[in-house]
Point group: C2
Chain length 204, copies 2
Amino acid sequence: MHGVNVSAITSPLVWEHVQPAAARRLLTGAIDAFAERGFQATTTRDIASRAGMSPAALYVHYPSKERLLFEISRYGHQAALDVLRDADSGDSPAERLRSMVEAFTAWHAEHHTIARVVQYELAALTPEHLAEVATIRRAISAQIEQVLSDGVADGSLAVDDLPGTTLAVLSLSIDVARWYTPHRGDPAALGKLYAELAQRMVQT
Amino acid sequence: MHGVNVSAITSPLVWEHVQPAAARRLLTGAIDAFAERGFQATTTRDIASRAGMSPAALYVHYPSKERLLFEISRYGHQAALDVLRDADSGDSPAERLRSMVEAFTAWHAEHHTIARVVQYELAALTPEHLAEVATIRRAISAQIEQVLSDGVADGSLAVDDLPGTTLAVLSLSIDVARWYTPHRGDPAALGKLYAELAQRMVQT
């Protein structure tokens, strides 16, 4: 994938909640390794080595490679949901939609390395962990579906297929993580363009 | 990833041009293996075994695992380009856009397993092979950019950012491969919805 040389450790995503520092180094090392080689091809030795530790030391902090993926996936999904909720403001459904799409798109450009791991490695989670992540995914979807539904109710937005359009709006932003590299432009500008395109999708 | 149990060999994509049959079995086995475990974690032994062959027999047909990926990637991209070109018909830029987005979206739903391999494993190609695939990717992009540009020229479509909107239209269809599973609906119906949404993105 493109852009894998950008270390996740330099990302503005805040990992300070992960304590102690050794656990945090393992987690950011795992993000880089999964983004570069995929979950299946990454060994715990590889992750430990990126964190300057022995494979045995990794197991002090995480019982398995899957547990690291789950922590990354849960945190990444929760961060994306928080971005949507924080951006859900405005005087009309159209303004709220623009604000959310703008923020959600910019987040997927800025955090494209984490977003790729989170989106493309879901099948590697255990059923229990996948179920927990799926709950956050439903909340993300509900956030967009609600504003479209509010717009239909007050007659300010035109939506023929509510779940299909909800998925399309989210999909447009999420796919930014696949193709985005810093030379493709500024995340904020991309957010503004996508806010405009999403609003056009549903305007009356 | 979801849907990896759907064998690529059952896909309507025509692999008959790959001769002899042993080479074709290796190729479809590689698609399934790459989709299931990723390129890096797949061994030539795994691919050979899916084709009912020995690892040594694989090398009779393909010099490397990367060569298999390249054949899949080149064919997948060319098939997607052909779909766009065949669908580029209609009396107005808006009609041409609708027709292309409808076909391109349905293709990504139907062939989601191949499309994922093709889109997510680009970084595993050699620089020479990536350059060859990039040529087809530029032709795909040019196909959409041309119709938007024609619509701007005759005043029938409104596009502020031509490359950005081109990328967004393609991205919306391509991301279908990430989330699509047969229980998410009919590829043809999805194509019609996305044609409508894409047209709305650029209507005056």
